[in-house]
Subunit: 334 residues, 2 copies
Amino acid sequence: MATIYDVSVLAGVSLATVSRVMNNNTKVSEKTKQKVLSAMDQLGYRPNTIAQSLASSRSNSVGVLVSQLDGPFYGPMMTEIETALRAGNKHVIIAAGHSDESQERDGVDFLISRGCDALILDVEAVDDEYLIKLHQGNTPIVLINRYIDEISERCVYLDNELGGYLATKHVLQHGHKQLAYISGPMFKLDSKDRLLGHKRALTEFNLAFEQELFYEGNYKEQGGSQAMDALLKVNKPFTAVVCANDQMASGAIAVCLEKGMSIPEELSFVGYDNIPFPQYISPKLTTVNNPIHEMGKMAALWVLKHVYNDPKPIVENTFSPNLIVRDSATKPIS
Amino acid sequence: MATIYDVSVLAGVSLATVSRVMNNNTKVSEKTKQKVLSAMDQLGYRPNTIAQSLASSRSNSVGVLVSQLDGPFYGPMMTEIETALRAGNKHVIIAAGHSDESQERDGVDFLISRGCDALILDVEAVDDEYLIKLHQGNTPIVLINRYIDEISERCVYLDNELGGYLATKHVLQHGHKQLAYISGPMFKLDSKDRLLGHKRALTEFNLAFEQELFYEGNYKEQGGSQAMDALLKVNKPFTAVVCANDQMASGAIAVCLEKGMSIPEELSFVGYDNIPFPQYISPKLTTVNNPIHEMGKMAALWVLKHVYNDPKPIVENTFSPNLIVRDSATKPIS
DNA sequence: TAGTTTTATGTAAGCGCTTACATTAACTTT
DNA sequence: AAAGTTAATGTAAGCGCTTACATAAAACTA
């Protein structure tokens, strides 16, 4: 592999000059610039980014830590992050936290020791305090799907309370009065917020929240199925199920369909997230749109702007959900 | 940030000794080792991996290039790759190729110039020749989901012909005689192989392949829906649809359900890949299992073994699909 | 005990870049 | 035309490590 030295010799200039044309931050005369460029070309020169990093103490890499790499949720986010960052010639190093505190911490350590210039984190197991402390360190962080007041400007998040409210209000407006609720794990902030929104809507319609018709799921299809099984055994009627995400909604609906129930005629459903798949099941799932890809993109742009000083990006950090009405929620049978 | 120098001073030894205890490849007396370790501990020392890389010309990072980061298919693969590699203390740098030749090439260049020690590629747009040439370069590569004879030992792949055969045979055994086939894009090798298997099964049952009942889709739900619409307009009856992947099968089934058809009674379906979601639709999709996560893991283990000389992993590179019988294919109406 | 081998540690030369500073060349001034 | 500016390029000191080689200390030989 040709080095900067080879280029400098061939072009008949000094190392520094070659470096200058690469980074074009200092003036170099057009003539020498061309000599250097053509020398690079002849040699098929590619800068050694490791050496660049060491010398400039910039790794040009940003670490991304997500709960999972699979599932319908993080993929789109990763896609946007990768696209935005690569456009800025930065590379993305990934790590998965698996919603486990020690794995999340490990992942962060791992990424930092790799010399990432910034970290984009979608973590749920570590506590706020840890993140605040992390924020005070040398590596800038941005948080997706999480809001911490002390570092609010570093958070890119969705108004989950509003989303929960919208979902529930939708079925309420259809006239439902007895709702079941399948929640995400309550240690997750988004689960809590969605539930809060749910309760607000209930209150607005003068309905009480029924603890017996509440089930704490795990955000997975499997969990939705379990929840539905459990709910169906409760000795309390309900005509609609509000689910804290689409995956659980799908699992729950599958159980009902299995039992020969007709959906939405016998039971209405609303989901949350607007992942692609449930558009292709019958009935098509009514849900709340979660602009996760936008949020991924914003996080990447934030880094580009504030860490790499790219003046272009305009970043915003709070996003609002909106209802996507499809076929899974209708009027209750009267 | 503390450097190796700080540690050496505090421990009262030379830089080299500190480096030795880090890499424990040379003997260091137990006593000095302890001194060094405690000095590291006191300083909260973390080696600068960039400097390590530059000095050792090993970046400890492996580049992973996939078509897409999202979708139900690559997630599980990425998860396994990340897990295996991180367990070996290697970094995963990702890039997406978007099934586009120039983007795939860009991605490869990007990863190489980033100093990756090896590349794991799931590419479909670049041709064999390019990959063979790449293979001759300095960065070892391993290919997932692709077989190239000249570099067969670098390929981790599925016997797609067999999978296509199994899927089709399954419906044939149920007595279907008129099959439609929704294929993936024909420029992709796996599409071709699956179709080949399909044809082999037809031949075995003395049936002719009907060009009119063949539709080239795009491996997406949307494409499956389009395909179904088109197929339904063809003036030729069929009682089963073999789909080259689950996503298209789901899209196709959705169209039928929409039209009020009952599945599988009126029309049988088989998919391919065994992605999680279609287990939660009704009917549950009968499909061919694609051990994509295993393949991801194997690719990672190959790298660990052959690039990083980890003696442990046992790697195998050819995988066989197997049929997963669920509810979407049954006997034809007679 | 002197000589030999083995083992533990130190010395110093890179790895391929960036960048502060020094130098030289090329213009402006007056 | 001499002095003062400015622009272009060169020099060399790192960045934080690894590792071949040199050296010193310890452990055997006979």
